[in-house]
Symmetry: D3
Subunit: 304 residues, 6 copies
């Protein structure tokens, strides 16, 4: 069960209202790398986890992320507070209101007109949060790696936001939130490496013929070798012929059909067959302009 304490995990002090800055901050409130995503990610993993250590860890961090969601959402609410009142009470002359809403910048018009200067669960583009952002699949050796990566991403977005404001109170609270992502990443690293073995993830072994092969699929000026494709662990394959049909077959797909299925497919093929030998007049030709002599004075794009 969750309970709530009216004190924030970190005190939020905002110097002045700024709806455009508020809108940027939404990235970490309702954005893909934000705190709702983090909280939901760990909370849902915790619910289904059976390992007692991981279950506890996941719920600890999920709860803290909810508390961070409150901190970042409070920053958004404080930065929007001035706009909220003016908008709700219609205190500005219309032209001023329009200028203020349209001119603040970076989609803050959405936060104001649609969300009334609140703290909506959208990102800084106004895109509603979606659980499609959560990549949990229910296997710890994969999910912990996803968590590590998620913390790394969130750390970076905070870093970018910190670089965008000189409001000391905002900067300080963002610094706290950013730091906690580092701490969480460390915890998830420890949890991952307390599983033996954790690579490859899951239960099945790979097919030994292909585990150590590196296919050089992109070729030309810029080909590089490095530890990711050279050394004892790698078989490097550049020959295009050895890259396709690597099973030794002909590379062509096949399926066995029943007689009935085959008959239906043949009927479809006949009905929809393209006749390559003919050169039909097409719809586009019926009313095509004449390139170079267009009666509509079309603009040739060359020379540009």
């Amino acid at each position: 069960m969750f309970s709530h304490n009216k004190r924030l995990q970190y005190t939020v002090r905002v110097s002045e209202c700024n709806p455009a800055l508020a809108n940027l901050m939404l990235e970490q409130f309702g954005g893909p790398q934000g705190e709702l995503a983090a909280a939901c990610r760990y909370f849902t993993q915790a619910l289904a986890e059976d390992d007692p250590g991981r279950k506890d860890l996941l719920m600890d961090i999920a709860t803290e992320e909810l508390s961070h969601l409150e901190v970042i959402g409070t920053i958004v609410a404080m930065l929007n507070k001035g706009a909220k009142g003016r908008l709700a009470e219609g205190v500005d002359a219309e032209a001023d209101a329009f200028r203020s809403i349209t001119g603040a910048g970076n989609d803050s018009h959405v936060t104001q007109v649609l969300y009334g200067g609140g703290a909506p669960l959208v990102n800084s583009a106004g895109v509603p949060w979606t659980a499609a952002y959560i990549d949990t699949i229910g296997e710890p050796t994969a999910d912990l790696r996803s968590n590590i990566a998620a913390e790394a991403r969130a750390k970076i977005i905070y870093e970018r936001l910190i670089n965008c404001t000189d409001d000391p109170g905002v900067k300080e609270a963002l610094g706290f939130l950013m730091t906690r992502e580092i701490a969480h990443q460390k915890s998830f690293e420890k949890a991952l490496y307390s599983i033996t073995p954790n690579f490859p993830p899951g239960k099945l072994e790979g097919d030994a013929r292909f585990t150590n092969v590196y296919f050089n699929m992109s070729q030309g000026d810029g080909d590089m070798r490095g530890s990711w494709n050279q050394g004892q662990q790698w078989q490097f394959v550049s020959d295009r012929n050895e890259q396709s049909a690597v099973d030794g077959g002909d590379g062509m797909p096949s399926v066995n059909l029943t007689t009935e299925e085959e008959a239906a497919l043949n009927a479809m093929a006949l009905r929809t067959q393209s006749e390559p030998s003919e050169d039909p007049v097409t719809g586009a030709e019926l009313k095509a302009g004449t390139q170079g002599g267009d009666p509509m004075n079309r603009t040739p794009i060359k020379p540009m």
Copy 2:
């Protein structure tokens, strides 16, 4: 520039049509952990990357993932081929067609009725693929971790699919695809660890007061200690008072308002104030049923 060779990277041999199995396979075609997501993830990273080694690596693997997309999509197309012809030509009696479409199972009705037995970019629930699945943010020390995690997840979904079919050709091709995820994870690991330092990701240091703190936010039977929250690296905080307002402030948010902003907020507060001392009659009370003596013979849910 991409070019295409009509031979698949791995020969696909399907024993018999099976639209329900085809539908499950869509997870790795148009699902969140599937090959389109993988290809798009690495391809977009490659475009913006300036490090020559990583750029090459990302484009190599992006291109291979496109080739995998072709393999898994071909499996889907082969498994659906029988249904496709029958449906297009309407060869079944209506009741049979309905039974066959509805009875195959697990959302394969969508692949059939909406997508004509093709290979649509949806997952096994029929949810269209979305770029919201891609978590690339443009910082290598984060993106490489995201790639490692993505490969781990894809490996697991293939493992689950392999466990669901006894068609030897499908199993073999899935085994190839699964194995390549292992190889790709290895490459991304090497690329990540060839950056020094790579932790914490990005440029800013954390706030030293909070980097090594573990907040025990979830308490009760089941609390556990482990390397993720104990040992030299951790300061473990269980006291609820030390978990909130950790900056030493009062935990209450504040913002400086202009006089004009304050006046507007006050006007809004007055207009929308809740009057706690009064007990108003509400809409719900106007036509409420009487619990326990309901004239509509409502069903009491207790005792259950």
Copy 3:
């Protein structure tokens, strides 16, 4: 700040695993009327609210909804627990696994294959949760009405789920959750009616010419009168002529254009004008089948 107690708000006792029932339960976990939507709805309102009474109320209920999210998610996790282990360890023969995953019913294949038998934030169709479900706009006289309606909807979905299971522990926990929606609706009703006036919502009056008009837009057998369109409060308008251009104008839109804008529009009009007097041969006519004498043996649909 949130904290977490490992005891659930309501003890969950599940009699036996049932992935199809688990999948139905997802409606109240990651569905549009579910607990995540409720928690997010009230939590975001609380952050931006300045009225002390409503702010407290909203945070109280938001926190309880999070605790409900934990209860319903735990039900899902318990119902899926058997499937989770079998799937992860691949203990079934492939054909059995396929049958079990495909045959359980109602999209539970998604929960299993994609989410590993966990508790994903999707609804019972596998559609990921989206903040588009949340209709908060930042005006209390509207948001409280939205909350009242949301509680009413959630109550009904629980009622439907209760009707679908005879597992006494599941039924009992669902009954608790359903009941709390009733209690929350009552609280929101009280909060709405403690604002005077609360109708019409917001600040602007309506245009007195149109506030009490009822336009009878749908006519024919089935026209009905009732308190919603008759009586002292209503002016009932059925005459089609009095329903359009009610401002007394001609009902035609107009805009003033600059000379430059007009010239550009005229150029576009000329370039794309349709020539009504001509009867052009079209693309469809080039290769049209002959209805009734089709060489492809098309099936006439009449008589059916």
Copy 4:
């Protein structure tokens, strides 16, 4: 059956083109609180409704909302008309076109570049309309409450838009649309209160032990009492111990497993168990920077 009269329900007169204002107006065209959502909401309810009075009411208002969709869409089209022609015919020098498209403000570049200066079904952030905005569930005592709330929200968004323009024709048409939301809310109120009883919604009673309980989940400075949690109707519970496991159990979840399920879960637990006693070296530690002595000249974030 629907029919259409070329006269608008309200005459639209726009003073001058303004693509940024057009873009704001999209909130009530293709936004969550807009007219398409309203029309679809009532129309779909009407289709499934069996009560003759409500069915008629719902179709009357649905039809009027479609007519409002036409009015607001016409406003958008008129405000965009100048931009549409200039863009289509490419009359501006490139730098001017870029400035004009980028500088108009608030996402109007999307309306112009992607939608050609038309009236797309997106909101003012460019987010496509989704039926996820519609919360109809097919129970009149809930749906009517949803409708009441929806009208209240739409009224407010119109109020905000009215405050943003001084074009008298736009203002007047918006005033008409806003007023009709008030009238519709009144009708839906009447329809709700003509059902006896209408609370609690649906058929099942609540569990009498929990219907009148208020859990004080958020505690600290700012706790408030009011009609929503005090008085004869409420039992107020602040003790944290009485808030969890309210059924009297231990608050711990349980499920009965078959022997086979248990074996599989144990195998999974063994495979993925975290070893708490060990302190493993992790990936993050392999290439961690030294906080405070970083060779990369990382920027310490403190003191800020």
Copy 5:
């Protein structure tokens, strides 16, 4: 302005309730090729259209599509009517209700549990309708082609649905709806070909060097020639060298940077550079299983 007549455009007669068939029918109600998409497509085009003929045509067909939406939605509502009542009143024993809801098939559980047996704007997978389905861009020579294609697609989905039911009333109404798509396609073809020229669409000519080139990008067994890539109109290019950098440049991208930009990029490059010469130990290696000698008894996937 729209008005509504209570008579349907086509009388709907349903033989018996069938929630699974209802669910399939949703494809043409709230699916991508369905009637809402059609109505919205033409209606929004009509609003922004200035050519009087096309404007009238678009509004005529938009209005008819709304009337079709009513017909198909009524079919859905009739097919669901039995389930709706039983569900709402909870008349079945729980196990029966579960069986009935889960067993009907093809996602009809969503229509029942979430939407109460109504007519929701989702497709047969339960995916909510989205305006992302509408591809209108505001240029008639493109939009009319989109409309032609949309009618063709809708015709096919109706054909598939007709093949799935032997209920004569449903079949007959679907036949009407399908036929009208044919008629609408004809009208849009006429409207397109009454514009001269209509190809290429828009105003700009193509670059004459590339308008008639066919790049043979996919090579191998299965290469085919036909009117789409051979004949007088085509220059066929198979040589891989002539397919890339077709402008005669080196195919490598370039951008001019300011000194400041270059310095920042260099700093980023240095910070995140990959060191190819070293072979670092990676996270995956720390706890990797030994392929072929795995202590966890991993299952080798070969031979399969």
Copy 6:
């Protein structure tokens, strides 16, 4: 199988960085009419196609579209390169960074803050790409028409983008991409017209009673006749009575219910019946303001 050549299909030369222009360009990278949509559209059709000519054609063009995706994505990456470095290394003072990110215009803040100055698969509004943009249904006579329309739309968006930049290298590369859409449209036209017959699409004939009827659904000033509704091919129906219930029935829907279903529906009707004769007091009336004499000093909106 796909392979990659490091030379672009068209050399990209960008004169100077411009994140706002980069953001506009995203329309053709991750937007609905962009190259990813094109590539996915043709690639998925190719996988399921059995006609050898079309299969080859579709894969040729899919592969070229992938190469175009690389060209447009490279343009985006080059235009963003300056912003990427400055942002990553935090070289600007905070206020400058904020101004630069917020002031560049048209949602480029999202590309910068969330995506780090990369090339994300979103459109110029920041909306993530979705497979809902792809309208493939698996019937060639429909899909080819969809492809023709898609090429027409993409051509127009390129035309608009060309009109927005005077950077000669960008303009030239866009001109190439635009031209190729023309060439592809021509190929798809040829492929469509090599099928006989191709109209109506699919297998079923229309109902001869309705194939040639034009319903004049929108009436009033502005009614027009043209080849799309007059001439030998059309029967023009304006009489409202002949537009509804065109089957000759009464236009009223019906369904046969079982006794049990009827009883349940009757119970629901009774429980939720609206009582038209009564005029209940409603929730809105409990706390309604007095229009014209509002104690809250509401602003009357008339006269405006």
